[in-house]
């Protein structure tokens, strides 16, 4: 299956807290591809809010976003932009 991944850095000050995590999951769920986030060798489902929250990814931490499926390219692009933009937070 087609798969793409990209490593991004959490930029917003408060890290991946509830609001950004839900933004991420919401956006990930729009894609057909399976979406995963990998942090320190641990992989969680990017469409699961509890999964994303369990990473407790603080500002400055590196995440690998991986998508598998027909629209994986678009998924990784959109999701990494979201992270790189700091979830539009301060």
């Amino acid at each position: 299956m087609e798969a793409v991944e990209r490593t991004v850095t959490i930029r917003n000050k408060l890290g991946l807290h509830v609001r950004p995590a839900s933004l991420f999951v919401e956006r990930a769920s729009k894609f057909k591809s399976d979406v995963y986030i990998i942090k320190d060798g641990e992989r969680v489902n990017g469409k699961s809010i509890m999964g994303v929250l369990s990473l407790a990814a603080e500002q400055g931490s590196d995440l690998t976003i991986r998508a598998e499926g027909e629209d994986c390219e678009e998924a990784v692009k959109a999701l990494s932009e979201l992270v790189e933009e700091g979830f539009y937070e301060e």
């Binding site: 509830v18 060798g41 969680v44 489902n45 699961s48 509890m50 999964g51 929250l53 369990s54």
Partner: protein, 332 residues
């Protein structure tokens, strides 16, 4: 497969110092050294000078034998023996039976920044406790997207696609008095003898996402009896959409298996559709598992009963309808 990355000596002392009765005597500069291996090594041969295949990367445990050996050496010989092991990058050294460290040990520990600790436990006891407490730091682990619930004491791991209703089934089970271990993010560790143990992950442990409602604090809402911290994973329950399954079990004579971290467990595929009560099915799966654990195989017993009944019928039929072989003798 991920392996636990280990533990620093500082953390070992902080968290298990009391349980293992460990006291630091020297080499405090090396507290950040990592233990990557859950096994210990008794460096008797290395002290005697044989360092081929020396497993220096493990905790070095010196018991009565090693200390007695060192005590019998002259000061000069003892220094050479100790330097033989201290030339390696040892994570730490532990003396058992409350042994008094030799001055050379203190000196070498400090100069090489290798923590030297003493415990009052005997060697065998210490090794046993060390493996017991620290196993999880070195064991293989994985994270599974699913829900782990203790149902009648059986660890059921619900898996299936996002949105198929794993959390809702878990919630329903909690409501009926069963206990949540973890929802959505289940960390599974393989312990010795092929036992899988599942647990939640901080900070989301015992929280759940219920679609349409949001994040729910299960412990606050249902009380302490509704949660538990860890549970052996015994049966995988795979939730699939009704039309997706072609091969679900109708009888239960065959047992399906799945493999997690190289350990085989039973796997049950349950097709779901709206209005179907998965909760009761989950309870039945757990009870069925318990029966099997207790040596009771209902389907096999049923089948034996069925075969017995048919054989009785066959025998009766043969008695009543005389065939050529069982007919009455001619002329009667």
């Amino acid at each position: 497969m991920n392996y636990g990355e280990g533990i620093t000596v500082a953390r070992l002392l902080e968290e298990y110092g009391e349980k293992l009765a460990l006291e630091l005597r020297a080499g405090a500069g090396g507290l950040e050294r990592m233990l990557h291996n859950g096994e210990v090594h008794r460096p008797g041969l290395a002290l005697a000078g044989f360092v081929d295949l020396y497993t220096f990367d493990r905790v070095q445990v010196l018991g009565n034998t090693e200390m007695f050996y060192l005590g019998r050496l002259s000061k000069k010989e003892r220094r050479i023996a100790l330097e033989t092991i201290y030339q390696f990058d040892l994570p730490c050294v532990v003396l058992t039976n409350n042994a008094d460290p030799f001055p050379e040990m203190i000196e070498l520990s400090d100069s090489n920044d290798i923590p030297l600790m003493v415990t009052r436990f005997a060697t065998t006891k210490f090794v046993h406790l060390f493996s017991y407490y620290l196993e999880d730091y070195f064991s293989p682990w994985t994270v599974v997207h699913g829900s782990l619930v203790d149902v009648y004491g059986v660890g059921l791991l619900f898996v299936g696609k996002s949105g198929i209703g794993k959390s809702e089934v878990a919630l329903d089970l909690i409501e009926r008095g069963h206990r949540l271990v973890a929802d959505d993010v289940v960390r599974i560790v393989r312990r010795a003898r092929g036992i899988l143990v599942g647990m939640g992950k901080e900070p989301v442990r015992h929280y759940m996402e219920i679609r349409g409602v949001g994040i729910v604090d299960v412990q606050r809402m249902f009380g302490i009896q509704a949660v538990r911290d860890q549970k052996r994973v015994e049966v995988e329950v795979k939730l699939v959409e009704w039309n997706e399954v072609d091969d679900y079990e109708r009888i239960g004579l065959r047992e399906h298996r799945t493999t997690i971290l190289d350990v085989e467990i039973q796997s049950v595929t349950v097709p779901i559709y709206p209005g179907k009560n998965i909760t009761v099915i989950a309870e039945v799966i757990a009870l069925n598992y318990l029966l099997k654990v207790h040596g009771i195989h209902p389907v096999e017993e049923f089948n034996e009963k069925l075969i017995r009944l048919m054989q009785e019928r066959k025998a009766l039929k043969e008695r009543l309808s005389p065939g050529p072989a069982v007919g009455l003798p001619e002329g009667v």
